[in-house]
Amino acid sequence: MSLLRHLTFALALLGFAQTATAQSGGPLRIEITEGVIEPLPFAAPAFQAENSGAGEFARTIAQVVAADLARTGLFREIPADAFISTVTNFSSPIQYADWKAINAQALITGAVATGANGKLTVKFRVFDVFSQGQLGDGLQFTGSTDSWRRMAHKVADAVYSRITGESGYFDSRVVFVSETGPKNARRKRLAIMDYDGANVQYLTDSSSLVLAPRFSPTGDRILYTSFETGFPRIYMMDVASVGRQALDDQPGTMTFAPRFSPDGNTVVFSLESGGNTDIYRMNVNGGSRQRLTSAPSIETGPSFSPDGTKIVFSSDRSGTPQLYVMPATGGEAKRISFGPGRYNTPVWSPRGDLVAFTKQNAGRFHIGVMRSDGSEERLLTASFLDEGPTWSPNGRVIMFTRESQGANGAPALYSVDISGRNLRRVTTPGAASDPAWSPLQK
């Protein structure tokens, strides 16, 4: 992973004259908020290999771009065997009629070249077939050949952004708990992967139970809970070096459920003492704890608003776990969940408008969202056990844990759009739980 982290991507506008895009039908556009039922058909022919070393990259990069777009549910890839035209030169004029004939509304073309010192250059263009024009400027990324998937994700992010008007989420990672062994002797370790399940790497061994990792706002550090002393404690890990430190070490207490503040300097968490669990905050570099709640009930699952001024958390002070919002420095909390059932694991969306949560009601578990004032609650999923939502960097997709029922039950990662559509299992090497989505990588 350190290779990737130390990569810098050179990004350049291609120096081609841009064709006008606005035509009678208006530019190609998906308005996500209006609810897309019919995915937009696109074609992504294999990119052009500009030298002999680039052939494999040219093919696989186009495949990753197409898979990213199709996975959103907003786009549908037209298979290559339907193509009338082939693209044989990145600079040749586009035969729009051939792409229009197979109903490809968007066309993505690209070219790949390998250079000295393991460099890889990827350039691409997006065309609005029906308006017969290029959508935005051509772009070029340069990185190392090891990072070819990241470059593909960056191309896909740019395409997504041009067509939806929103930022993408493909060049991102997910940290999660990898699980092995039977249900009554489960072994767990931290793992990290690309958002689509590629490039899995393990960050800890299985010698201690680990739970619920969370990314820092820049994706360089992870907070998590480990039983390595025999008791649950919060640790902070540097992703690049895998070095870690205990954040709080007061014997006789447990600490868990940590999250970073939006500036990355503060951690908010639960601390249990004498059977009572409350919420505290402290500086990640040490220093004294500040107690934010003081109640005989369970207060846990704190999550900052993106502006850092408020914290949403769960509390069973009313008798069942419900969601509350309080100032980030503590103080009076306002209850925001009022439906039937039990609400836990609230997570503020990166846009600030919504809170995702786990809801347990009538023997089923749901992932849901509500506005941060508690209005407009919507349940997105239902199963024997869904829990622990995490937001995509653009706030459009939620990933979570779904555990199957029974003696052979095991957890897996799933994602769903905030519309409730596009439920998908996320590929992992084995059983997996507690995903946390990174910010978009730089």
Partner: protein
């Protein structure tokens, strides 16, 4: 704040012994503790004759009359065997979120700790830990299994407390 290297972690894991580290969930799933049940001063006697665990109702940490009977016997045994300390493990069934169940398991362990202290066990001999829903004994997804997993287990060991 200590930085821990991977090597140090490995050493720590290897040096953890069976009955003192709750990370191995003590006398939970498989292991009989040391000694013979015939010996009233043995950990095996505590586990099997006294009874090392009690059970809870859904989402509750209150002690049932049956639980109080067992805990009273635990307190007597601990009074008779002062060389032993105990870690009380609190557990929850799988019907709940991970973090809430950690807090719930802590409530259960603490209820046991409070009872034992009230019955004269010195506080310094007792520690609590919660495993939430992470260490079920029973693996079906039915109440018959859930009721066996909502438990607090008193895991004894000779000598002082580990960290």
């Amino acid at each position: 704040m200590k930085h821990i290297t991977k090597a140090a972690l490995l050493v720590a894991a290897l040096s953890a012994s069976a009955c003192t580290n709750p990370g191995r969930f003590g006398a939970g799933a498989d292991g009989a503790m040391a000694g013979s049940v015939a010996d009233p001063a043995s950990p095996a006697y505590f586990q099997q004759a006294v009874g090392d665990r009690i059970f809870f109702a859904v989402d509750q940490s209150t002690l049932s009359p049956e639980a109080r009977d067992i805990l009273a016997k635990q307190a007597t045994w601990l009074a008779d065997n002062p060389e032993y300390t105990a870690i009380i493990e609190g557990h929850a069934d799988e019907q709940g979120t991970r973090e809430y169940n950690l807090a719930l398991g802590a409530r259960r362990a603490s209820a046991v700790q409070t009872f034992l202290i009230d019955r004269g066990v010195a506080p310094h001999r007792l520690r609590t830990v919660s495993f939430g829903k992470e260490r079920p004994l029973e693996i079906c997804s039915e109440e018959s299994c859930y009721s066996g997993n909502r438990r607090a287990v008193t895991v004894i060991s000779a000598g002082g407390m580990t960290s």
